[in-house]
């Protein structure tokens, strides 16, 4: 290896070691500060230096270009770095200045059911910007794993987990009697009619899941209890049982339509792990109205640079597979053939 090549390799090793320490430092300061740190100006210089060094390496070492696996690995790394710099906040600013492309990098949208909106609250400064199209939320819903459970505990520490099956009597043993779940409410409300409390499931906006539970003691005494998912733990000192209502969320779903010039141009029920891609943006299920389930919160992310990053990922993966595995496998087969041939 000549002096120049040696210098290039030492520089590569230095940048790799530096990045190891920077990553460990980043791990200690937490995601938000680490993100700012790795997107800062000195780090932009570092990333550029890495890209330049990879290019110099490709120019200096002929084997890096001649050996396909090595070429894919190193070009893949350039793609990942270049694509992510292009798609960063600074990359978006640069594109605006150079080419007049003015895209939102990242932000949030709050959309109520049956309404449409195109306003995005930017992530970095909470400014409001507008998309060139609108999004309508047809419906937002939360899905739960089945069965859901009623948890019953005695003060002595015995417990039962009862699947919510309306009308099914569940025996708790000779000492404790039986439990029957009579009704399940999505939005439990009380109104007073003729001086009596009437419990009902309110179809109006609201979110107060509850169960109506009947407990029959071994002596035949029957009591009715209401157990609330969001307000657990209400018990009286004389209560024999502590009741709680648990549901495990399986998914959040927003039924979206993209409206452009008053026409529906795209439609998708987005869920966690299943975003919608339209007009240079990805829309993600980010959060929701946890009080009444009436609106959804979408995360809007620009797709600039993604294709290059993912192409880089493919090249890197194929490259390492080719160079570190496939060559070995082929060499093994070849040598076995030679042994067989002899």
């Amino acid at each position: 290896m000549n002096k120049f090549k040696r210098t290039v390799m030492w520089a590569a090793l230095t940048l790799v070691i530096l990045l190891i320490f920077l990553s460990i430092y980043g791990a200690f300061i937490g995601a938000e500060r680490a993100s700012n740190f790795f997107n800062s100006l000195p780090l932009a210089v570092y990333w550029l230096a890495f890209i330049v060094l990879l290019i110099v390496g490709l120019a200096a070492f002929r084997r890096l270009v001649r050996v396909p696996g090595l070429l894919l690995i190193h070009i893949g790394c350039i793609g990942i770095l270049a694509g992510s710099m292009w798609g960063s906040e600074a990359g978006h600013k640069l594109q605006k200045r150079l080419f007049g492309i003015d895209k939102i990098r990242k932000g949030r949208m709050i959309i109520s059911e049956s309404e449409r909106d195109n306003h995005v609250a930017l992530e970095n400064n909470n400014q409001i910007r507008e998309l060139p199209f609108s999004i309508e939320l047809k419906d937002f819903r939360i899905e739960y794993y089945k069965p859901q459970y009623l948890q019953i505990r005695t003060r002595q520490g015995r417990s039962w987990r009862i699947p919510v099956e309306i009308g099914t009597e569940f025996p708790l043993g000779d000492d404790f009697g039986t439990v029957t779940i009579l009704r399940a409410f999505e939005n439990f409300k009380i109104r007073i009619e003729d001086g009596e409390n009437v419990f009902f499931d309110d179809p109006q906006p609201g979110f107060n899941p509850a169960l109506e539970v009947q407990i029959e003691s071994p002596g035949g005494e029957v009591v009715t209890k209401y157990v609330f998912e969001r307000f657990g733990g209400h018990t009286h000192p004389e209560d024999k049982f502590l009741l709680s209502y648990h549901r495990t969320i399986s998914d959040y779903v927003s039924e979206l339509q993209i409206i452009e010039n008053d026409k529906v141009v795209a439609e998708k029920d987005i869920e966690v792990n299943h975003p919608l891609h339209y007009g240079g943006y990805h829309f993600y299920q980010h959060s929701y109205d946890d009080q009444a389930g009436q609106y959804t919160i979408l995360m809007v992310v620009s797709d600039t640079g993604i294709a290059v990053v993912f192409a880089g990922y493919w090249m890197l993966c194929i490259g390492v597979f080719w160079h570190l595995w496939l060559r070995g496998i082929l060499a093994g087969i070849k040598s076995e053939k030679q042994i067989d041939g002899n």
Binding site: I17, R33, S250, G332
Partner: protein, 288 residues
């Protein structure tokens, strides 16, 4: 420390005992018995993993209990390394098997959990599975690196340590299941490289699949969170290893080995960071 009085726990404890006995028997040079014990332990480890899968009804790689349970099924990797890659280390693998099952048996909570929405992705199982497999290869690389540092030229003594058969017969070459001391295994330095070659491909795949999944689930293919940064650091240590070894070959074999060991140290921190970050109270981590 909690003892699990369940079928799941019992299976884990049997596998641990089998692995430890296999290791001890190896030290006593009863290689065939050791090997059978190793296979037995591994079958129990597979049963234990299958039992968990059946119980939770999804690929059990959701939490550290399940991940360590998965790591316990190490035997096929040992066999593949020895037969195909000419890398030994059976006895160390037995210890690795027992060591990774220990936290599953005694430390981590085995309460089954439903998959939260973010984990319901087809990328979840392959992402974690390739990581676990790569960690096993990297653990084996670390063992070979330690052998190199200890000054071993070969992985087995060339003389002695033969296969003990009943009736005193020595069937070294015919007996497939018994490691043969005269097998043509690679030197520890070469073995370390070989293991890292295999492990690095899986490590890269794990990193990329994780990034892809992050993009689908949270909108960012890279979030700079501590776990991601530790995994990047471990990947970079092996990138450093490759380039250092390319520059100097075997001239600084000991430094090559230090790179491999450093990689494993960072992997262990990556794997346990969520837990460690709780110990270092006050440090920001997405798990706290």
């Amino acid at each position: 420390m909690e003892i699990k009085y369940t079928i799941q726990g019992l299976l884990i404890y049997i596998a641990i005992v089998a692995y430890v006995l296999a290791f001890v028997t190896t030290l006593l040079r009863r290689r065939k018995i050791a090997h059978l014990l190793y296979i037995f332990g591994s079958v129990i480890a597979v049963l234990s993993f299958g039992y968990r899968w059946y119980a939770v009804r999804h690929v059990p790689l959701q939490n550290l209990f399940e991940v360590f349970l998965c790591l316990g099924m190490i035997y096929p990797v040992s066999l593949f390394c020895r037969r195909i890659l000419r890398v030994g280390g059976y006895s160390a693998d037995m210890l690795i098997g027992a060591t990774v099952l220990f936290p599953a048996g005694f430390v981590f909570n085995a309460q089954p959990q439903k998959l939260p929405p973010a984990l319901q992705s087809w990328l979840f199982a392959p992402h974690v599975a390739v990581y676990m497999l790569s960690y096993i290869f990297m653990a084996k690389a670390t063992y070979q690196a330690c052998l190199q540092l200890a000054g071993r030229q070969h992985q087995f003594p060339r003389s002695g340590g033969s296969c003990q058969q009943k009736g005193g017969s020595d069937q070294k070459n015919e007996n497939w299941c018994c490691p043969n001391p005269d097998e043509n295994l690679l030197s520890p330095e070469q073995s370390t490289y070989q293991m890292i070659r295999v492990g690095f491909v899986l490590l890269t795949l794990g990193l990329v699949l994780g990034s892809w999944w992050g993009k689908l689930a949270w909108g960012d293919y890279w979030g700079w969170d501590p776990k991601e940064l530790w995994s990047l650091a471990s990947w970079l240590v092996y990138v450093g290893y490759f380039h250092f070894r390319y520059m100097f070959g075997k001239k600084h074999a000991r430094i090559n080995s230090f790179w491999a060991i450093a990689g494993m140290v960072v992997i262990v921190i990556t794997l346990l960071w969520v837990n460690l970050s709780r110990i270092f109270g006050g440090l920001h981590s997405y798990a706290t």
